[in-house]
Symmetry: C2
Subunit: 233 residues, 2 copies
DNA sequence: ATCATTATTATGTATATACATATTATGTCA
DNA sequence: TGACATAATATGTATATACATAATAATGAT
């Protein structure tokens, strides 16, 4: 870096990351204060501050007022991954996307669903099941329950051209969500739909969404066990 | 908000999030420019900028120079989850953590491992296998390969008191990682170790770590299928 | 009309300054 | 010694200003 070059917080952040990675700043160690670093990098304190804050958000640093900034002892680094719409996920991989509506009716939701959404024990909800295909092959089976009180207009939707997921994304935003991943064995019906053998493994993603505490939907999405969910950090 | 109250970017961000959630600003719509918003919220443009940037990072807004800021059409919201050390994960849930070293020796790594790490086809690597327990019950089976060139000092470690994961975390930081989730069926050995039936499902997390392009380690961690990985957003 | 050039504009970033706030360190009194 | 008020301090945030940059819109030449 030349002395005259304008210092960007990106460069400073990178340099700090390097120091942490190469243990110039050891885990647990207290690093210099913002003003000192600002002098060292010959930039404004605000610039150092931004670099430090971003690193802290990434879990590499831990900051506390008055106490100062130290290198995280247990770098509980956060992995960030985007949860795309299935169609995009498939198209990004170069596959041809299709989807098939399996069923779509209003019925009494099972207790397991209403309980997790914090709703009354017995409740009529919209139950939509569909299959997403990539290049004609089953990719994801989606089993969804929608709270009609939260999204009444969904009642008249046929889902012939647009999948329930995309419909909800464009018609009902959410402010809060909980996502759960786990593995399971395919039951007979699921195996049939996904085109795999019964008792093969399936990768399950469950999602609960809310707007301002009000429950919107519960989805269970299952992939064949061969599916890989990849994330970088 | 009173007119005299100092406006924080938090409040502004929250207000904007509300407008998006309640569709005052509809998906795909162009929202006012920073200067206009700064006047509306009677604050500095920098403050508006910070709020907007944070929302954009959250995937709720999409910003482009000159083009302006618009509400994301497909809120590909990013889920952020922390990847804690197993011991912390267990202790956070209130369990008692233990771990058992199953094997620890230098041997020729299988091609599947060297290839994914971008190493020479035949290579001697450290192979460590261990089991993490919660309240005495198998929680995670860890099968790890370590590149001795990257971390030579690990050769003399016995892992009698500290798990390989924690050793690496405190002795060898990484700058890059790739994480893969999927489901599989337990093989005989894995089932035996995890205390589950053969052909039950297992939830697999694989992790590859690097420092500055140099491969450090490949780990395959398997949980019984009943394990839940939860994340909020 | 088409293409390359230039102007315009919204966001992106850097800076100095000022004040806010959380937390630790210090000092005082009982 | 201990409890409690007070000072000191590092980070957190707000602001005005200035300039950088990317992308579009306008312009002009061919």
């Amino acid at each position: 870096m030349t002395a005259t070059a304008r210092k960007s917080f990106h460069a400073i952040k990178a340099e700090m990351a390097r120091r942490i990675a190469e243990r110039v700043w050891a885990p647990g160690a207290l690093i210099p204060g913002e003003e000192v670093l600002a002098v060292e990098f010959s930039c404004a304190r605000a610039t150092v501050n931004r670099a430090l804050q971003e690193l802290a958000r990434g879990g590499v640093l831990v900051r506390k007022r008055k106490a100062g900034t130290r290198v995280a002892l247990h770098p509980m680094r956060e992995a960030r991954f985007v949860i795309p719409i299935v169609r995009q996920e498939i198209e990004n991989k170069g596959g041809i996307y299709q989807f098939r509506l399996l069923s779509n009716r209003v019925e009494k939701a099972p207790l397991a669903v209403t309980k997790r959404l914090g709703l009354a024990k017995t409740k009529e909800m919209l139950h939509v099941r569909c299959l997403h295909l990539s290049d004609g092959k089953p990719y994801q089976y989606e089993d969804r329950w929608v709270n009609l009180d939260a999204v009444p207009s969904i009642r008249n939707e046929t889902f012939e051209t647009v999948s329930p997921n995309e419909w909800l994304v464009t018609h009902s935003p959410f402010s809060q969500a909980e996502i759960i991943f786990h593995a399971d064995l395919a039951d007979i019906e699921e195996a049939e739909i996904l085109g795999i053998d019964e008792k093969e493994s399936v990768f399950i993603i469950e999602r609960l969404t809310f707007v301002l505490q009000k429950p919107i939907t519960f989805v269970r999405m299952s992939h064949p066990g061969s599916h890989r969910m990849v994330t970088q950090l």
